[in-house]
Symmetry: C2
DNA sequence: TAAACTGATGTAAACGTTTTCACTGCGGTT
DNA sequence: AACCGCAGTGAAAACGTTTACATCAGTTTA
């Protein structure tokens, strides 16, 4: 139950000054070998472990990277986090993560994002913060890395996805299938990502000479539930489109549920394509745009570490853009040859109508 | 770029002592209103934010909860984390999370789990740590909460799931379906969870008078890949069982993929039941045992906060067990009436044989 | 042999807080 | 008039480190 063992305890135990003990423990060369051994033995014996608050206070370094996310219940962010964590660990750094509740973060001042000085660098996920806010934040001496949204004029490194090309590829694929009445489930207009992805769609449509039907652009929050209602509402009094391009996978899943409830099959009745390639997409057979999310996290962490190590002003405006590409599975109507797992429907359950009142039976093997 | 604003800066700015400024900022009543206003204005103007390392050093409190996980790429743990986070936030605390790489943590000493004194309490997920290790850890003055595994004799609060009853329910359900040749995909023998869940299976089998076939007990790591190979290997030279009970959802998904590759449908050819009720289970229509994972996280955080506030020795041995229950979807062969979304297969893609060489066509709406 | 260097250690200041204690006026009791 | 209490404030110590500087013994060098 006692309080933690300090340097003082160790020094008293071996009859040396705290300075010497500190030197041993931080690997300074200016110590006799015998002394070193003696100190290490004592430290081990007493179960010493450095007080990192004290160290941080003195050295002004914490070996921590701060990460702020809107939400952890989102596979995209979690995968990103894994990437950041991997890279941070490899460099002997640890993470200080703060995930949502998003709105709360919006009401904070720049300095509140700095974890009270407990971090050496900050990685931010697009939280919809205004540019001058970011500029203020970036000017406070803690290196800043932004993900997903470029911030011109802000001295912060940026890492983001090639959203335009990805969306273009997805839309082009549907157009090559021959579909023309294609609904687009796009994210909110104030999201940079959402706008970029939509730009990709537009580009493909223009290239194919398809004129766009504004009724088929469904704007919704980037979450399953919103997409579900949006699709639901449309289907209530319109014919289903030939295809739906959802600009993230969560929305694709929402649309899928709505389609099912209207008795529509994917891809026979309506083709469906997503964006992100979250884990579940593989199991569902969802054709989607693969994003190297984990690598993006790693890149962000590397950028942060790099910023901590350099004074080079150019580094503070570096921008890294990661490639995306389409993964063809079954939901678009293709039956690809190169991905055996997704060639079949996930669970071939009997339909409700056929078996509603049937008793469970032992199936033949 | 400058260094952060300190109390000293603020005090100099207003011509008062740091003591007074500190008092204002920590809400002490012994300050004149005029002074208070003046200080707050100055602090705001200068963008002051307290150095938490210094505060922690002085007060010996950090308002941080430490959490150690084997792995973040696991929906079970992530959901748990969300619960912990919610509860911690509600109490004005923050989290310091360390996830994997598991094996690295195994090689650390007890004091290395304490985040260098940067946490006020520690929540541990079963990392396979030996009892005397836990006892040492618990004796170091930082309140300890263990999840998933009771640790008799260790002064730590425990929160875990009712695994036995859950597994019993799942197995019973399959037995009520009439299945008798039921394979069990169980977790590793050194996992407490795995053993508990297996005990539940045994109990149900015994109650139904079914004698167990040791060939049908497949032991594998709690991950998709292991379950996939285990199932794969069995199907290579045996008849498929009538049903598979996977003792976590990741394993169920692994088994599902293996079954598909052997051309077997779920549930027509083989029934499948999982355990955990991860998010994806809903989309897949997987019948599984629902675990209140988030609530478990909340309970753990509450236990930690409680331990920090009390000296009551009994609290340090408190054990909380959360209920589980079966969620019936389609994968077991039932077609439940109460869950419209899961009554249909996730994506009704055409089978490979039918359409392999077909050109994409515009489907009729 | 004195001066200069070297290697090992100790001393003490500093990092930014919080908090105990002491001090100063000042109004109200005896 | 001497006393007390009290509200408001400041001085200073402490938390556990790291590190520049001082010390000191034992070399080496001139």
């Amino acid at each position: 139950m006692g309080r933690a063992v300090t340097l003082g305890d160790v020094s008293r135990h071996v009859g040396l000054s705290v300075a010497t003990v500190s030197r041993v423990l931080s690997g300074s060369p200016r110590v006799r070998q015998a002394t070193r051994d003696q100190v290490l033995r004592a430290a081990d014996e007493l179960g010493y472990s450095a007080n990192l608050s004290a160290r941080a206070l003195k050295t002004q370094r914490t070996d921590m990277l701060g990460v702020v996310f809107p939400d952890i219940n989102n596979e995209f962010y979690r995968e990103l986090l894994t990437g950041i964590n991997d890279e941070a660990h490899a460099a002997g750094r640890h993470l200080m993560v703060e995930f949502g509740p998003g709105p709360r973060w919006q009401s904070l001042r720049p300095q509140d994002y700095l974890f009270g000085g407990r971090i050496d660098a900050l990685i931010l996920l697009n939280l919809g913060l205004p540019m001058d806010f970011l500029r203020d934040l970036a000017g406070r001496g803690t290196p800043l890395v932004l993900m997903d949204r470029p911030a011109p004029g802000v001295p912060a490194a940026t890492v983001r996805l090639e959203n335009v090309a990805g969306a273009d590829a997805a839309m082009s694929h549907l157009l090559e299938h021959g579909y023309r009445r294609i609904a687009v489930l796009r994210g909110p207009g104030d999201s940079y990502d959402a706008n970029e992805r939509w730009r990709g769609c537009e580009r493909a449509l223009r290239r194919f000479g398809v004129e766009l039907d504004h009724n088929l652009i469904w704007e919704a929050g980037f979450y399953e539930a919103y997409a579900y209602t949006a699709t639901q509402r449309w289907l209530a009094d319109h014919d289903a489109p030939e295809a739906i391009l959802a600009l993230n996978d969560a929305m694709a899943i929402g649309a899928l549920h709505a389609l099912r409830e209207h008795g529509l099959s994917v891809p026979q009745d309506v083709a469906l394509v997503g964006f992100d390639d979250v884990d579940c997409a593989k199991h569902l057979g969802l054709t989607t745009v693969h994003c190297p999310i984990r690598q993006m996290g790693q890149a962000a962490a590397r950028a942060a570490l790099n910023l901590m190590a350099t004074d080079e002003p150019a580094a503070f405006y570096r921008e890294e853009v990661l490639d995306t590409h389409l993964i063809v599975r079954t939901s678009c109507g293709c039956v690809p040859d190169d991905n055996p797992i997704s060639q079949r429907p996930p669970i071939n359950a009997v339909s409700r109508l056929e078996k509603k009142h049937a008793r469970p039976v032992r199936p033949e093997v």
